[in-house]
């Protein structure tokens, strides 16, 4: 690693909104320069609040944060010069053309004349918007708008780029295109990226390091492979015909955990998640034990551990469940891309 200051360093951030809504309850993160850092969590976990504090929009109740070496509270202006922000909401001017949006954004950072025009043309090319440059943004497709948003965030060549749920609301094709775009950005000399997402697959694919956020703080942090690797062995998912009652559950958990090669079991309504050294070998034993206990199994799958398993392990609940708790109807959608066997 380099000796440069961390791109982002947040210590013990706390933020409470009126009505005693705790958004952050002591969040710590460090983003090394030149890396992509993924903040992963369901809606309402505190990702957006973190981004708002780090981009000088909101003030924490307590805690400290520096971005590109500048304190977000004492030197907000220096932070603003060093960062590019792609927020969840587009924010582009719908009546202005793509080119005009970029020109205005550049002027706000002090770019002028030929320098400005060169930079704008360069970004339009890079984000495949040259043909649409003279058209009003209100006629852009979702994917084009999102690409323009990213271009807006890059106009002044920031040191740190914030991408707040960059692919939410995009169709699968546009999402894949955006992923390629972000991957290319990550290769840019020295650019550090803080990415928030509630798509497990997105974090897995784009981030060098991931912090899983739940209820306002980081529950676990590491590289995607490291996190999955910590869950040694395979994940066996069993689906039961009916949920097991509390009393029987403890007994059953004990019985399953005692089976050879089984490391951990977690009951979650009709679903049982088991970690086993060799998933395929453990299935017959698991089914046998459940049958003896009179519990009917409707499906069994074996998979390499996914980030969903990581989430379940550290946040103590399923990712989809956490999403549902926030009333977010896209929960199933969020889980879907990560559901496939690895």
């Amino acid at each position: 690693m380099s000796t440069r200051a961390p791109a982002v360093q947040a210590r013990q951030l706390v933020k409470t909104y009126p009505g005693d809504v705790t958004a952050l309850s002591g969040l710590d993160i460090t983003v090394e320069p030149g890396t992509v850092f993924g903040l992963l969590g369901p809606n309402g976990a505190g990702k957006s609040t973190t981004v708002k504090i780090l981009t000088t929009l909101a003030r924490p109740d307590s805690g400290t944060a520096t971005v590109a070496g500048h304190d977000v509270l004492r030197h907000a202006d220096r932070v603003r010069r060093a960062i590019g922000v792609v927020a969840q909401k587009s924010g582009a001017d719908p009546v202005a053309t793509g080119r005009e949006n970029l020109q205005l954004q550049g002027r706000l950072y002090g770019l002028r004349g030929a320098d400005l025009n060169r930079r704008v043309t360069e970004l339009l090319d890079r984000f495949r918007l040259s043909d649409a440059a003279g058209r009003q943004v209100k006629g852009y497709s979702g994917g084009m708008q999102r690409r323009l948003d990213v271009a807006l965030g890059l106009v002044h060549r920031p040191e740190v780029l914030f991408l707040d749920e960059p692919t939410t609301g995009l169709d699968p094709e546009a999402r894949t295109a955006m992923w390629d775009e972000i991957t290319r950005l990550a290769g840019d000399e020295g650019l550090s990226i803080l990415l928030t997402t509630h798509y497990l697959e997105e974090a897995d694919r784009l981030a060098d390091r991931i912090a899983v956020v739940d209820r306002g703080h980081v529950v676990v942090e590491g590289t995607p492979d490291g996190l999955k690797g910590e869950l040694r062995g395979d994940a066996v998912h069993l689906e039961l015909r009916a949920p097991v009652q509390d009393a029987g559950r403890t007994l059953l958990e004990g019985a399953l955990a005692a089976l050879p090669g089984v490391r951990e079991t977690q009951f979650d309504g009709r679903r049982v998640s088991v970690r086993a050294d060799d998933g395929a070998a453990a299935v017959p034993a698991l089914l046998g034990a459940l049958e003896r206990a009179g519990v009917a199994v409707t499906a069994a799958t074996v998979a390499r551990p996914s980030l969903d398993d990581v989430y379940l392990r550290y946040a103590g609940r399923r990712y989809s469940e956490a999403q549902a708790a926030t009333g977010d109807e896209s929960a199933a959608d969020a889980l879907a891309p990560a559901g496939g066997a690895r």
Binding site: L57, A58, V85, A87, G91, V95, A96, L108
Partner: protein, 258 residues
Amino acid sequence: MSTAIPQTWYMTQRQLMVFLRQPAYLLITLIQPVVWLFLFGNLFKKVVELGGFGTTTYLDYLIPGVVVMSALSSNMWAGMATLDEIQRGTLNRFLTTPVSRGALMNGNVVSNGLVTALQSVVIVLLGLLGGAELPGGAGGVLILVVAAVLLGTVFGALSNALGMLVRERESIIGINTFLLLPLTFLSSAFMAPSQMPSWMRHMADFNPLNWAMVAGRSAMSGHPDPSDVLTRGGALLVLAVAAVWLSTRTFRSYQRSV
């Protein structure tokens, strides 16, 4: 601070573009004044015979009233545009850039002022086409336009403050609908003060809309009364400064609530 002025101009340009790229909107803003000047004006043109209007034709009397009323009705919707910008994320996008916070607010004030000035001049020109005389000349028109811009600034800033505070379109629509007609009828827009019931006349004295009309009408008459212009104009200026200050305060509280 040296960058605040060009930045204010960029923000102003941006807002003006919204206005100019929606030709339908431009046209609609002119339909109302035409209705007031020519339909209403012709319908009631005999009222000048009652006396106390200080003009020879009703159209001459009506022009300042319609200019000021139009300034009110176009500026009182400023909060809707601000609300759009908040909901679209545009305001937050600007707040994460080093743009001067003052420029964001001032861009609104300046662009609304320019639009109001343009609208006022067009209404006066329409009046001239309709045969108005305007004994006060260009100087009188200028004072009327300034008074209309100040009044527009008062209500534009208040509307912006309301938009940032309540963040609901319905509240702005409700308040505007509630205010527009009473404020207009409790003023000398359509009727000479001497012909108004005395309680209405007294209430009109406290109506900023009426201040702008009195100042403009006096300046546009053949024999302007400098004290009318200065007292009413001064009061409008004070009110405009207070309203902009209030909306800047609200803007700060919006930033804290993000």
